[in-house]
Symmetry: C2
Subunit: 240 residues, 2 copies
């Protein structure tokens, strides 16, 4: 049995311009690993309609689940909902259920639900809303695509709303072995070990810290026993 | 005149599994912004040959420059050089110039240039080497694709080796205006301003820190005077 697969599409200029560092991809990667869904690809595109549509087409066909982050707020550069509607060839209109959520949230705060904020009630036809306990304006799911906000606190809350609806596989366990030898020294043994354990993925990450050179080898598998056995063999063969 | 465009392709499982946070994309984004090249897209794929080939095909056709990070080390999971050779339909063999660089580096360290390390001298036919002042093993450029290491210190050194060969456009200047009003409050004015200044990109990023809600508006343009004028108008209209 193989685990379900997923991709994330981060939409917006702020990471591509170097202004901020991604937080959502990293958060989602950890959450999916815990529930046994394999994050296979990540893409970042700018606020550009055709870039969003092309990415959504490809990713939703290629993976079991797609998660998007960003571009569903009230301002002129928030074009994600419209782009997703186009990608799925659906109409997009203000929806009563989304409107009610916004109305009650802004009434409670004594804030006007103005025209800009009303844009956040526009949802593609046939989509299901995703709960936003932080700032009310909902995300939505259409087909296998989960459309969520870019602000990290809201993104994380929406991920939490979505997780119970996802069917995960076997959680991936990982073990890191820190080896104070160069990657090139252990490469042959590691390659042979990887062939003996095709069900355990082995990544090697060289490090250099405080004058010490070495390699972190990360073993990952959904099978605990094979993982433990591979770790024992790895330690044995790099000590040679 | 529009600036040259670029994409980055990050190759490897370590970020997709949540084990580490990306550093190379963020570094490259900042360097390119400084020299007037617009980073338009970023992709992260796992160590999978067809995923790498598909991404390289698409990105090298779509953008002026492509930068890859990761998968050119000595271990079994380092498949980037072979995948790039296939993507460009080139042969790949051990090359004398790369071999000499490795030999002199490892001789100097008294370390054996073993079979695993020799893999790092395999370079696609017709590619130019990219200097690696940190750990010798070179990157390479083929067509508009710059293939570089994933270890952040080495990636950064290689980027520095490559930058002088790139023709940039006008550096993008940016100004951030911190506004203690909700995104929905300023959205209408901001949208109108964006229409008046099509040459100044305007991104709005809501924040919520220590109980204060507000919006950072980031203005970006290669035209300093237009940028300054847009900033003055933005401050005026959000104070209304």
């Amino acid at each position: 049995m193989t685990n379900p697969t997923a991709a994330i599409l981060v939409i917006g200029d702020e990471i591509l311009s170097g202004r901020t560092r991604d937080a959502n991809m990293h958060h989602l990667a950890n959450v999916l690993t815990e529930i046994g869904i394999d994050l296979k690809e990540a893409r970042l595109v700018s606020d550009n309609e055709s870039a969003i549509i092309d990415a959504v087409h490809f990713l939703s066909k290629s993976y079991d689940h797609v998660f998007t982050s960003g571009g569903i707020g009230p301002t002129h550069d928030d074009i994600t909902a419209d782009a997703i509607a186009k990608a799925f060839d659906r109409s997009i209109e203000m929806r009563d259920d989304a409107l009610k959520i916004l109305q009650s949230h802004y009434d409670g705060q004594g804030v006007e639900l103005n025209e800009a904020r009303l844009r956040m009630a526009r949802i593609p036809a046939g989509a299901e809303l995703i709960d936003n306990p932080v700032s009310a304006a909902p995300g939505f799911r259409i087909g296998n695509v989960h459309v969520m906000a870019g602000v990290p606190a809201i993104f994380q809350a929406m991920v939490q709303s979505v997780v119970p609806s996802l069917t995960g596989g076997l959680p991936i366990q990982s073990e890191t072995v820190r080896i104070t030898r160069g990657e090139g020294d252990i490469a042959a043994d590691l390659g042979a070990l990887a062939q003996t354990y095709p069900d355990v993925s082995m990544g090697s990450y060289p490090f250099q810290r405080d004058g010490v050179y070495g390699t972190n080898v990360v073993l990952r598998s959904s099978d605990k026993e094979r993982l433990a056995a591979a770790k024992v063999e790895l330690i044995k063969c790099v000590k040679k």
